[in-house]
C-alpha cells in the first residue's frame, strides 16, 4: 500500500470509529448529563444577586479604576448624598430626629449604638428602602476597597497568600513560595490598571466554571465509555485481533476517543461561554484583577480570555478523564461489567474535579495550587493525566501488536 492509501485507510477507520462513538444512545446519556449539569451551572451564577445587576455595577465606571474613574465615583457619591438629603426632608420622623443628610444619619446611628439603644424602626426601615442609601453604600464600598495604597494592598494580598498556602490567619506566616511573592509583586506593579469588577463576577466564573468542567468531563466519559465494550459484544474484537492490520488500528480508535472527548469538552465549554458571555457582555474586556476583592489569580487577562481559558481547560479535562477511564475500562464482556467499572471511575473523576482541580481555578485559593504553588498547576495536572493516558495507551497498543492471543 502506498502512503496515500495508508492515510486514506486511516482516515476511513477514524471516521468509522467516530461514527461508533457518536451514536444515539450514548448521545442521549450525554445530553441528559449536560441538562443535569446545566441546572448546577445556572444555580451557581450570582450576576443578579439580591435584585442588583452586578454586571452593570461592574461596568459603570469603565474598565480601569484610574484617576478619571475615581473622580466619576466621587461625583456620583456627591449626587447620591444630595438625593439622600432630599429623601430625608420628605420623612417627618427623620426631620424630628434631626437627620437631614447622610452624615447626620451616620452620626445618629453611631450614637444609638454607642448608647446601647435601638434605632427608630420607622426611620431605619425608611432609609433601608431608599435607592439613594444603597447607592451611597455601593460607592463608598468602591472607594474603601479600591482606594487603599499599594503597600496596604500588598499587605492584604500577602495575608490572603498566608491563608491559602500556610493556613495562617495573617501575614507574616513564614516563607511564602517565590512564585507567590513574585505574582503579588506583579499585581502591585499593575496597581493603576485594576478594574472594579464586583466579587460576584469572579465568583460566578469560579463556581459555574467548576460545574462546567465537571459536566464536560462526565459528558465525555459517558460518550466514550461504550464503543470498545460494544465492539466486543458484537464479536468485532476477535475479528480485529485476528490480523496485524486490525490490531494496528487501535491507535486510531484511541485517537477517535480522545478527539471525541475533547470535542465534547469544547461543545460544553462553548455553550457555557456563549451563555455566560452574553450575560457579561459589557465587561468582557475588563481585567480579572479587580480592586474590589483580594482573591489573587495566577494570571492576568480579561473576562473573555478567562472564559476561553476555562473552555480549553474543559477540553483538557474531558480528554484526560476519558482516555484514562477508557483505558481502565477497556473492552468488557458486557455492559454491566462496563458500568460497574465506569460508575466508580466517573465518581472518582468527578471528585477530582469538584474538590481538587475545579475550585478557584487558576487562583491562589485552588486546593491543588495550595500544595503546588506554580502558576497553572491545574492545567499541568490535567496535562500530566493526559500524558499518562497517552503513555498507557501507547504501551497497550505496542504490546497488543506482538501478542499471540490477547486477552482483551
Amino acid at each position: 500500500m502506498t502512503r496515500t492509501t495508508n492515510w486514506r485507510t486511516t482516515w476511513r477507520v477514524f471516521r468509522a470509529e467516530m461514527g461508533k462513538i457518536w451514536r444515539p444512545l450514548p448521545l442521549l446519556g450525554t445530553l441528559a448529563v449536560l441538562i443535569v449539569g446545566s441546572f448546577f451551572i445556572v444555580n451557581f451564577t450570582y450576576l443578579h444577586n439580591g435584585g442588583e445587576d452586578v454586571v452593570a455595577q461592574s461596568a459603570e465606571f469603565g474598565p480601569v479604576y484610574d484617576a478619571k474613574a475615581q473622580q466619576t465615583v466621587q461625583a456620583e457619591l456627591d449626587k447620591a448624598r444630595a438625593a439622600f438629603a432630599a429623601d430625608m426632608a420628605v420623612s417627618t420622623r427623620a426631620t424630628e430626629l434631626g437627620i437631614t443628610d447622610y452624615a447626620a444619619y451616620e452620626a445618629w446611628t453611631d450614637r444609638m449604638y454607642s448608647e446601647g439603644k435601638d434605632t427608630d424602626p420607622t426611620v431605619t426601615n425608611y432609609v433601608l428602602g431608599l435607592a439613594s442609601y444603597r447607592r451611597i453604600n455601593g460607592l463608598e464600598l468602591i472607594q474603601s476597597q479600591a482606594g487603599i495604597s499599594p503597600d496596604a494592598l500588598r499587605s492584604q494580598l500577602l495575608g490572603q497568600a498566608c491563608y491559602d498556602f500556610r493556613n495562617a490567619d495573617d501575614y507574616p506566616c513564614g516563607t511564602l513560595p517565590a512564585t507567590v511573592t513574585a505574582r503579588i509583586d506583579d499585581i502591585i506593579s499593575h496597581y493603576n490598571q485594576r478594574s472594579i469588577l464586583q466579587y460576584n463576577v469572579v465568583m460566578t466564573l469560579q463556581d459555574s466554571g467548576k460545574w462546567m468542567l465537571l459536566t464536560a468531563a462526565l459528558c465525555a466519559m459517558i460518550l466514550t465509555a461504550f464503543p470498545l465494550t460494544r465492539d466486543r459484544q458484537l464479536r468485532m474484537t476477535a475479528v480485529q485481533w485476528a490480523s496485524r492490520t486490525g490490531r494496528g488500528i487501535r491507535s486510531t480508535q484511541v485517537l477517535a476517543i480522545g478527539i471525541s472527548a475533547a470535542l465534547v469538552g469544547l461543545i460544553v465549554g462553548t455553550l457555557w461561554n456563549v451563555w455566560l458571555g452574553a450575560q457579561m457582555r459589557p465587561i468582557l474586556g475588563y481585567g480579572i484583577d479587580s480592586a474590589m476583592y483580594r482573591d489573587p489569580a495566577w494570571f492576568d487577562g480579561t473576562i473573555l480570555q478567562w472564559l476561553v481559558a476555562y473552555t480549553l481547560t474543559a477540553m483538557l479535562a474531558a480528554a484526560a478523564c476519558s482516555l484514562i477511564t477508557v483505558w481502565i475500562v477497556k473492552a468488557q464482556s458486557n455492559g454491566i461489567r462496563m458500568l460497574l467499572i465506569t460508575v466508580p471511575l466517573a465518581a472518582a473523576m468527578a471528585c477530582l474535579i469538584n474538590f481538587v482541580i475545579g475550585p478557584y481555578l487558576y487562583h491562589f485559593s485552588n486546593p491543588l495550587g495550595g500544595r503546588i504553588p506554580v502558576p497553572g498547576a491545574e492545567a499541568m495536572a490535567l496535562t500530566a493525566m493526559l500524558a499518562l493516558a497517552a503513555a498507557l495507551w501507547t504501551v497497550s497498543a505496542r504490546r497488543i501488536r506482538h501478542c499471540e492471543l490477547p486477552n482483551d
Partner: protein, 438 residues
C-alpha cells in the same frame, strides 16, 4: 404469527410432582400424529423448564450467576471501604472535632449523660480548657430543659406564614395542624425527661449532619448497585446470546419472574451488607458513653430552619442507635424502590445501558427538583418520588419544617414510590410475557 400460549405453544408442563416422565419432545410428536386427545397427562416435576430442573435449581443457578460476578463484589467492597473510611475519618477529626468528641466522652464518663443543673455545675468545676468552655457555652445557648422557651405552635405559624406568602393557604393550614400534632410529642419528651441526654455534646448537630450526608452516599450506592444487580439478573442472558433461546418457550419466559426475585433479593442483600458495614463502622467510631442509648430528640441537637433553631422532634421515641437502624431500614425501602424500577425498565427496554440510563435519569431529575424547586406546592407534588427522601435525609422521622405536610412523610413517600414501581414491574412483567418477538 400466533401469540405465545395459544395454538403454537409447547405442551403445558404444569402438574404435580411427577412420577411417570414423558419427554416434551415425545409428547410433541404424539400430538403431531393427531393423538392429542389420548395423550396421557404429562407429569414432569412441578415448575420445571425441561423436566430436569426443580424450581429451587433455577433459583440456585440464578443466584450463582449473580454471586459469581466478581465485578459486583469489587464494587461492593469499594463502597464498603469508602463508607468505612468516611465514617472513621469523620470521627477521627477530619473536620477538626476530634478533641471535642474525646472531651465529651471523658465528661460523660465522669459526670454522667444527663444534662441537668448538677451536670452544669460539675462541668463548671472542671479544669478550664477550650473544649470545656465550648461544651459549657453550647449547653447554655441550646434550648432549655424540656425545650423551655420553645413553642411549636408559634413555629408552625411561622411556617404557615411563609406558605401563605407563596399563595398556598391549604398547605399553611396543614402546617398549623402539623404543629398541633408536634406539641404533644414535645410535651411527652419533656415529661419523660428525654430532652436532657448529652449525646455527643457540642458536636451532636455536626455529627448528625455528617451522618446524614453519609447516609445519602449509602443510598446512592444502594441505588446504583441494586439497579445493576437487577439489570444483570434481568438482561444477563443477552450478554451470552441466550435471550432468544429462553424466550422461545413459555417455560423459558417464566424464568423471568425467578430472575426478578433473585435479582431483587441480591440487591437487598448487597444493601444489607453495606448497611451493616455502615452501622458497625459508626458504632466503632463514635464511642461516647450513653450516645447510642440517648434520645435523638435531646435538646443538645438543634436544627436551623426558616423558623429559627428548632428541636429535633421525631414522631416516635428513638434512641440514637434506634434512629440509625431506622434510617438504614428506610434506606432498604429506598433501594427496593429503585431495584423494582430498574427491573421494570430492564424488561421493558431489554437494554442494560438504556435501562440504567433511565433509572439514573429519573433519579437525577428527582434530585434536581428537590434541590431547585422553591414553590411549596410544586415541591410537594414533585416530591412523590424516592429522591424526596434522599434530599431530606438530615431530618428523617421529624417534622421536617416546610418540607413535610404529614407525619412520617419521607417513609410514606418512599413506600408509595415502592408501590408504584412494583405496579410498573408487574405491568412490565405481563407485557414481557405477551411480547411476540423479544
Amino acid at each position: 404469527m400466533t401469540r405465545h400460549g395459544t395454538s403454537a405453544s409447547p405442551p403445558r408442563t404444569a402438574g404435580t410432582v411427577g412420577t411417570a416422565r414423558i419427554s416434551v419432545a415425545k409428547a410433541r410428536n404424539a400430538g403431531a400424529k393427531g393423538r392429542a386427545a389420548r395423550l396421557p397427562r404429562i407429569r414432569v416435576r412441578k415448575d420445571t423448564a425441561s423436566g430436569d430442573a426443580t424450581r429451587a435449581d433455577v433459583y440456585r443457578w440464578e443466584l450463582r450467576k449473580i454471586v459469581r460476578f466478581p465485578a459486583l463484589w469489587a464494587l461492593l467492597a469499594l463502597c464498603l471501604a469508602l463508607n468505612s473510611w468516611a465514617i472513621l475519618s469523620s470521627a477521627g477529626g477530619l473536620s477538626g472535632w476530634r478533641s471535642d468528641l474525646a472531651y465529651t466522652a471523658q465528661v460523660a464518663q465522669r459526670l454522667g449523660t444527663t444534662v441537668d443543673d448538677r451536670f452544669v455545675a460539675a462541668l463548671e468545676a472542671e479544669p478550664v480548657s477550650d473544649e470545656r468552655d465550648g461544651l459549657l457555652h453550647y449547653i447554655q445557648s441550646a434550648l432549655g430543659p424540656g425545650y423551655a422557651g420553645w413553642d411549636p405552635i408559634a413555629a408552625g405559624d411561622r411556617y404557615a406564614a411563609k406558605l401563605n406568602d407563596q399563595g398556598h393557604p391549604h398547605l399553611a393550614l396543614q402546617m398549623q395542624i402539623k404543629a398541633q400534632w408536634i406539641q404533644p410529642r414535645a410535651e411527652h419528651l419533656a415529661s419523660a425527661g428525654l430532652t436532657n441526654d448529652l449525646l455527643a455534646g457540642r458536636v451532636t448537630t455536626l455529627m448528625h449532619s455528617v451522618n446524614a450526608t453519609l447516609i445519602q452516599v449509602l443510598l446512592l450506592e444502594g441505588m446504583v448497585l441494586g439497579s445493576l444487580i437487577v439489570l444483570y439478573a434481568v438482561c444477563g442472558e443477552r450478554f451470552h446470546r441466550m435471550t432468544a433461546l429462553t424466550n422461545a418457550s413459555r417455560a423459558g419466559r417464566r424464568l423471568m419472574t425467578r430472575k426478578l426475585i433473585v435479582g431483587i433479593g441480591c440487591a437487598l442483600a448487597a444493601y444489607t451488607i453495606l448497611a451493616a458495614g455502615f452501622a458497625i463502622a459508626s458504632l466503632l467510631s463514635f464511642r461516647i458513653p450513653g450516645l447510642w442509648s440517648g434520645n435523638v430528640s435531646s435538646r443538645m441537637f438543634g436544627m436551623a430552619t426558616d423558623a429559627g433553631l428548632q428541636p429535633f422532634i421525631t414522631w416516635t421515641d428513638f434512641t440514637m442507635g434506634g434512629y440509625l437502624l431506622a434510617m438504614l431500614a428506610l434506606g432498604a425501602l429506598f433501594t427496593l424502590a429503585f431495584t423494582l424500577f430498574a427491573g421494570a425498565l430492564g424488561m421493558a427496554l431489554g437494554n442494560v445501558l438504556a435501562a440504567f440510563g433511565g433509572v439514573m435519569g429519573f433519579a437525577a431529575a428527582g434530585l434536581i427538583a428537590m434541590m431547585f424547586v422553591s414553590d411549596a406546592l410544586a415541591y410537594q407534588l414533585l416530591g412523590l418520588q424516592p429522591m424526596y427522601a434522599l434530599a431530606n435525609a438530615n431530618a428523617w422521622f421529624s417534622d421536617m419544617g416546610t418540607h413535610a405536610v404529614i407525619p412520617w412523610q419521607e417513609t410514606v413517600v418512599t413506600l408509595i414510590s415502592a408501590i408504584y414501581f412494583a405496579i410498573a414491574l408487574i405491568v412490565a412483567r405481563k407485557a414481557y410475557s405477551r411480547k411476540d418477538l423479544t
